[in-house]
Symmetry: D2
Subunit: 371 residues, 4 copies
């Protein structure tokens, strides 16, 4: 089942060797779920509290529904630009573990999703209390200040999580997002790397909501400069002034791996997402919450130990393979989000999808298509 | 109006020169509000979801209700031990500004309070979206996993904020807290420092919920070792094992000043809270969320500027006076929380107040009382 | 005077508007000096302690020779990968000021250069003691473990500093460096940005010594994949094993601006160097010391103030222009270092320059040449 | 062999259970060496470059002379106030390992000692290049700006290192240091902690050079306020103004343990040194380089691994015992440095030792002596 078009399907070249799904779910045990909320305005026009609603919740469960809330994974994070939110960050930095799942939603709904994760944990016999919830702002397409996300939506994202192919584009937390002025949202990719004859998987999931249209680079080609200027939406929001047009963007990038790396090594991996992001033309604008997290599914049971225990790890020098995979899969996940996303009309207007025929034409002109 | 007994009233010695209220509200413009929630169990026994409820919300508004949500203050933070939560941290680190108020509640209610601040902001014409909410865990005395804090409680704390004397002990977010095995909660103190013939005010508010009873030091005297062993509660919680007894503690310390210091200088001040905390015997246990924030009310309007602007600041060398004041006021705020707090019975049992006659006797024996 | 070929001379496209020299010296007051040390082996063969010597020292003086040692600049730094050294980092992070100049040399000579700066300061009536010295490793081409850099070399770099055109490639600290398997070294670039009708200059100087040849991207084109495989040197070092081949690389990037930005804002700028680096194909390998510093020449005299003073600053939202300039100038400085560097034979063998005719051919094929 | 008086010998009370030597050398394998340099002025008066010289070098070798330069230890650090230097910090943060020994000297000699460690490594077949060297300033008693430390002194400290009793006070890097206005220098202490019936050792070595005399607290008693005011030296330096009197202080604290803790856990331990320091009255002044490092001798061979390997570690909750030991041993090490140090006359005058009879009298008055 191929549920949406991918960048590779168009012949866009990427380095490295992806996994079976070319998705973060290529990692054994990882489950990803989405709750997408799309509703017309109750009043027939864009009105705070009435809609239209174009938002949702994404849940990444590193060890699946059964174990994620008890058997925490090692994690590390990096904030390239912190004009955003990711709860749980202090605890991850301190303890080396991420408690429970990684959730993504819109900016105004971080709180409700956070407490919902706590509630879900209590209901399922976990005593975790420091949930990890990140966000990007869908205030252009969604009635974000109408607070339409409810605990049930977070529960649905968790309960619907699966370990198979991942839908991309306008789904879950990514539903109403804008990437380089075009319709963005959710994107994913993965790499298989071989270290000492051992295969490891590394997967990336990104919620893309950053950048201005002129900045977009695809496969190194400055596509944004060659697209028609009127195609992309500028981030001006009706009731805000022109000067804030750069604000309200963000990109959340989650990197998972089954390579046995420790918390301080996962911070290293998280930082590399910056380099993949840079390849797509990003400058990480002032108003952007560009926060990246990496986790490892290796060393299960570590958080449950009550006395001295052993962990498996990789020598630092072997991390180069994981670094390279992170850069590559981050770039591809971002482009995938643009390829899958469909044109959407919402609260403040319409955001166009990246026109694929035009993209192909530009890349072909630059000799950057594989077929 | 003196609404509760203070440590100084007992003759406990502290260095430095406090302000009029010896409270964070000695800072011009700062308003502090509390919503205290105390309810019996709806089922007549301790039951998750039914109570008893012993919790609340504390709101610190650096520029009062009218301006806090628009005219953000410079801020900086430090996590001595990050087994806790403080939302808004990424944005403060990145931008140098704290958006809106500083809120404190229990661990399971961070989300509802966070979104409520966003809602209050939307309702009052602010477009801030990255609220700062910290927590300590009241799971021993409060039905924390019953999620009894609602948006209205956060609104009430904000709307009831005032710039006068601050109640201490079992109020607001501090209602159900335990400090060194004894009843803790909310405490505050302030200092006036003179730099270059200019008077500056520095105030501290702490929500104290950390430590084991044997660790308590008052005015340098190891009071905890001389108190009866059975007096303090150990942090064992009914459904948790003995091994977790150190966990579930925390202390949140907020330092405000009208001295004109920049974001990177405020991080320096936040780190000094550690030294004041150290004087009371703390070891900053693994399960403790010991997170400190400092803000400056100077340089109003900075966050609203749309072109090059000037800020006032202090030379780094003058910060020693602020550092000293931070250490002193932090120590005193913690002890004040213990002096004001009253014995409380709640979800899992009873937590005793620090017996003042015994405390006085011990301090007198060591020649550490002023009268 | 054009002292070496630049990337733009070949028609390689870069975004943005460079300054007069397209160099960090476009910043008023900034002086840059180089001491290049090239000596044959005293024993006629490669021998530790005897040579050949291919190394040097680079000095960046933010306020020129007269004021840099007294009137410190605001600065901030970021370590994308810290397998390297930059002394002075703690003091910059703490105080917001960089004491004196920024020096770059080889890994084994950080100490001698650091103390030499202290000595130069003492000799010139400054009481600064916490010098900032960074490094990259020239162990392949240089007898690095022979410790050939002496205090006089550091003095010479400082004393020879000038505010005009900057030589690039095999000069100063960059003398023996290897970039993407090809001869690298020193590169620079600048941008003029207009914010609110005010022109600001931002300049970058990089000492490039990172990456493997297959990774090189120029103007978005994966040039490294299209170059002959045998052209680039792998980082194997005679007495080290194959497994360390990725190690011993590094890139130091210094960003200067006359825009009035505060220390916490300079950290933001420093982080953006990552995005420019990413555009050239970097993965920031395990053994790479990828450390970036940003300083502002605005607000002169700030470090000399003895009482409350005012600083000028920019609103955070205006920083997008500086972020964009940083990304662009970083990319161009790195490519400039490759264009200027000449093939060099040294301690362990020969490192080829990037063949310009081949480069032009590849870029032309991809429609990525301006002429 | 008891080579100097210790705080415990006077009856000063400390919590916890020290090791055999009550020193960092209670850790199996750890060797500590000192090179003390005391010379009269060559010109018969205090003159920069001529003396008097009162300085030295301290070397801490976590795995002894034979293995420290090859088999690196896990480490983590914290800067409570970064107005100081500790080279090697970037590499420790990045890789989790400290390369080679931990060295301490005076501020102006960090560079020479750093390169000397590199030289020693090259001479002994190690390819480590990123040495860890910290400093405190002895500019009051020592002709620091005369640069009297040479590579031979660093070699001597390394080569003379032993695993037995450690001299304290005026030795090695601590020779010319001033602590709370009184003669400080080197101090050490240790604790044995039992976790799950397993005994672990934790040791602290401090080079004390911080604080003003009125701030000194011993066993919780504000001794500094009760000492004669004229006893302690203020940090005024002849050619500097009165306003700089707080500057030029520092304290370096090294914590070693054989408990199997990982790099991110060692950062947690390093932060706890702040709490022990706080108990002695410190405010961590602006000009103080208060930098702390923790290392673990467990998991030998980790840095030498070339493929997946296992490490042993402790559950986070067991770290409370190590945290408590760190706080206690830090406090005791600082007081030990004051007890051992002898009155010294040097470059700018005389610094008095803490008068022990007076100290005992004050502590007895407050009921804080054990005998």
């Amino acid at each position: 089942m191929q549920i949406n078009l991918r960048a590779r399907d168009l012949g866009i070249p990427f380095e490295g060797n992806p996994g079976n799904f070319n998705a973060i779910t290529d990692l054994a045990g990882v489950e990803v779920g989405f709750c997408t909320i799309i509703e017309d305005s109750k009043s027939g026009k864009a009105e705070i509290g009435k809609g239209p609603v174009r938002t949702g919740v994404t849940a990444i469960l590193p060890r699946g529904k059964d174990r994620t809330f008890h058997d925490f994974v090692f994690a590390g994070w990096f904030s390239l630009n912190g004009y955003g939110e990711m709860t749980g960050a202090h605890a991850i930095e301190e303890t080396g573990f991420m408690q429970g799942p990684f959730m993504i939603t819109n900016t105004c709904s971080v709180g409700v999703v956070r407490d919902a994760v706590d509630q879900w944990a209590v209901n399922h016999g976990s005593n975790m209390h420091l949930a990890t919830v990140a966000e990007t702002s869908d205030i252009y397409l969604n009635d974000m200040e109408g607070f339409h996300v409810k605990p049930e939506h977070a529960f649905a994202a968790i309960e619907g999580a699966s370990s198979s192919v991942i839908p991309e584009g306008n789904v879950g937390g990514g539903t109403g997002m804008i990437c380089y002025g075009l319709k963005g949202g959710t994107g994913t990719s993965s790499r298989i790397v071989t270290i000492d004859r051992h295969d490891y998987t590394l997967g990336v999931l990104a919620q893309t909501n950053h950048g201005e249209s002129h900045q977009l680079m695809v496969a190194g080609v400055p596509v944004g400069l060659e697209l028609p200027g009127e195609l992309g939406v500028s981030r001006g929001i009706k009731r805000h002034s022109e000067r804030e047009r750069f604000d309200k963007s963000s990109i959340i990038i989650v990197v998972g791996t089954d390579a046995p790396v420790l918390p301080h090594q996962l911070k290293r991996i998280a930082r590399r997402a910056s380099l993949g992001l840079g390849r797509t033309g990003a400058i990480s604008a002032n108003g952007s919450g560009d926060i990246f997290l990496a986790f490892s599914t290796a060393n299960p049971g570590s958080a449950l130990k009550t006395s001295e225990y052993t962990t498996t790890t990789l020598p630092n020098r072997d991390m180069d393979y994981l670094f390279e995979a992170t850069v590559e899969a981050t770039e591809e996940a971002i482009i995938n989000s643009l390829i899958a996303a469909k044109t959407m009309t919402g609260f403040s207007g319409t955001v166009n999808a990246l026109p694929q025929d035009l993209l192909i034409e530009i890349l072909r002109k630059h000799g950057r298509l594989k077929f």
